[in-house]
């Protein structure tokens, strides 16, 4: 199974193209915006300290899935989780369970989390992200 990894976080310029890509990844229902993205480009307390990205780092034993009351999040082979949108209540219990803050609220109340599809890698112009075999 493949997973999304940081190739070099120090190279991130904070452009957020990865976020826009992630929101757009669903070919049938691509979204314009960042609200469906399972990844966040953030400044390090102000851009004078640079930027980085936050996304699921594919826990081997995902606490977010353990606390999900409806099994919308399930452990995924290779680490991390799969996400079944239709089962998600939008209770946000998983948001608290993920200590790295890699689960994000969506504009429709549900959540967005990286499922390691790799779509964003092609749109990071600076080699910050890569997909590797877990």
């Amino acid at each position: 199974m493949k997973v999304l990894r940081l190739a070099d976080p120090e190279k991130c310029v904070g452009c957020g193209l990865c976020m826009f890509a992630c929101s757009r990844k669903n070919a049938r229902d691509p979204r314009m915006g960042i609200g469906h993205a399972g990844i966040r480009a953030v400044s390090l307390s102000g851009f004078e300290r640079g930027a980085t990205v936050i996304f699921c780092h594919a826990c081997a034993e995902p606490p977010c899935a353990q606390v999900c009351p409806t099994n919308a999040l399930r452990p995924r082979k290779g680490g991390g989780v799969t996400y079944s949108e239709k089962d998600c209540l939008g209770c946000r219990t998983c948001v608290d369970a993920c200590k790295i803050g890699a689960i994000f609220g969506r504009d429709d109340g549900k959540i967005a989390v990286c499922v390691h599809c790799g779509y964003c890698v092609d749109f990071c112009p600076h080699g910050v992200l890569e997909v590797v075999e877990a």
Partner: protein, 578 residues
Amino acid sequence: MRDRVLRINLTDYSYEVEERPELVEEWIGGVGIAVQLFRESMRDLKADPLSEENVIVFANGPFTLAYPYASKTVAMFKSPLTGELGESHAGGRTATALASAGYTAMVIEGRSDKPVYVVVDEDRVHFRDGRSLRGIRDSLILSRILAEIEGGKGERSIVRAGYGGEKLVRFACVTTETYRHFGRLGLGAVFGSKNLLAVVVRGKKTFRPRDPERYREVYREIYRLGVESDAMKKYHLLGTAENVLPLRELRALPVKNLTENYIECEDISGESLAEHSLGRRIACAHCPTACIHIAVLRQEYENERYFYKTLMISYDYELIYALGSMIGVTRRDDLLRLIHRVETYGLDAISTGVCLAWATEALERGVVSEKETIVRLSFGDADSYLKAIDYLVEQPNEFYEALARGVRFAAKKYGGEEFAIAVAGNEIPGYNTGYANYVGLLIGMRHSHLDNGGYSLDQKQPKLEAREAVDRLVKEEMWRQVLSSLVVCFFARGVFSPELVSRAFEPLGVEMGVDELNEAGRRIYLEKVRLKKEMGYVPSLSDLPERVFEVETPAGVLRRGYFEEALDYYMREYYSKV
């Protein structure tokens, strides 16, 4: 298309949301709708810009969130520097954050009694007490505090004035994301006059394209064009700072208040900055180019050995001109220290540099004395300029009070108008390239050199007849109205051809052919001229300071006759028809 306009009133802390489909249909977005919203919101176009009557419009456009490079926000207000229409564009994350909160524009009206800042969320506006945040001299600290208390990491934009705005310096700017500015024409002072410290915008609304498949294709095409073609190369490499040496070789780099046109300035060239000081690049939201060049300045503590502080300072061509060559500063560290000071206070760097340059020459010529300037200003002396910048903000005497109102005001009061390098009250950008640049400044929309292609026209076709230069400038400016209505970054203008813009509209469900786009540009241009006219704009040769006709340019010493002909033609063909 997004058509929601948020109206915030600071006088009674209220807000409302309007749906305005007709507005975006007719005027696209960005500049196009800002002109309309400004006109309808400003009850009295003649009102004092620092009074409660002034309004601020922020607008993004239909390409915001949809495509790369659609990273700019347009601000429109009445300028406290010139008394005319103020327009300023900034990158950062403001455009995407405002769109993600669901709005295509935001209008700020009225004046708060007490200092406040405003938080714009997807469905609410919060007015927050700002009394404890007043008087913070370093505006970087203000934004760190706001980031800390307001949250929304990665989903927000912090739009704030600095101490300069609080002190009502008429060319104070508004800064977003530390390094991007609504730089020109004094929006910071308008914030200050409204007791508005900052606006925090956050949201994550998403929008659906009409045609998903086509949308993803066009997106990919624009992305490829941006990262692969050489349309963006200049900004990829050295940034605009790459212009320093070529412009100097052409004798087009303004030096020492435009008294000279050559200076040894290798140390502050784009090459030198990149090689010795460049520490990081960052990007506006949704921009693959990351043109923001940030230098590292390592400084030892004054009184303690082996203690260092490390400052991160963004630079580009305009800053190198204004706080470098224009005031004779040619050492890299000196330049960076000056930029940092200006950034700390939130001032427009171009206006600051030009004001300092004028003050220096005025002192040299005895127009003013050290009693006025307090410090002994002299070209190249960065330490004296650092102090003078403090005085510009603190305004300890009448002289600095006047200078904080811009170079035109100060020169009117003290003399030396012949060498006050401003056009109609706006300190000029650094392109002493020839006729087209100055014609452009006279008839252009004046928020910066980017509003008219004059400086590049001078370089590409230096021998144009006056009338032709006017036609070319106006035509270019009409097209730029389209780009700044979409709103895409002008640096990507090589990517967004009319044909591509038209194609990019399709998957969003908007039919706009190339002809229609050009026509929209023409209409928006004329609307803006009309608005400017109503606010008192009459281009005139007397707007140009004498100095412009004295210093050598690449086209030789400029003749008045050329400008007379150009203006005459412009007034007849364009201005009078509006």
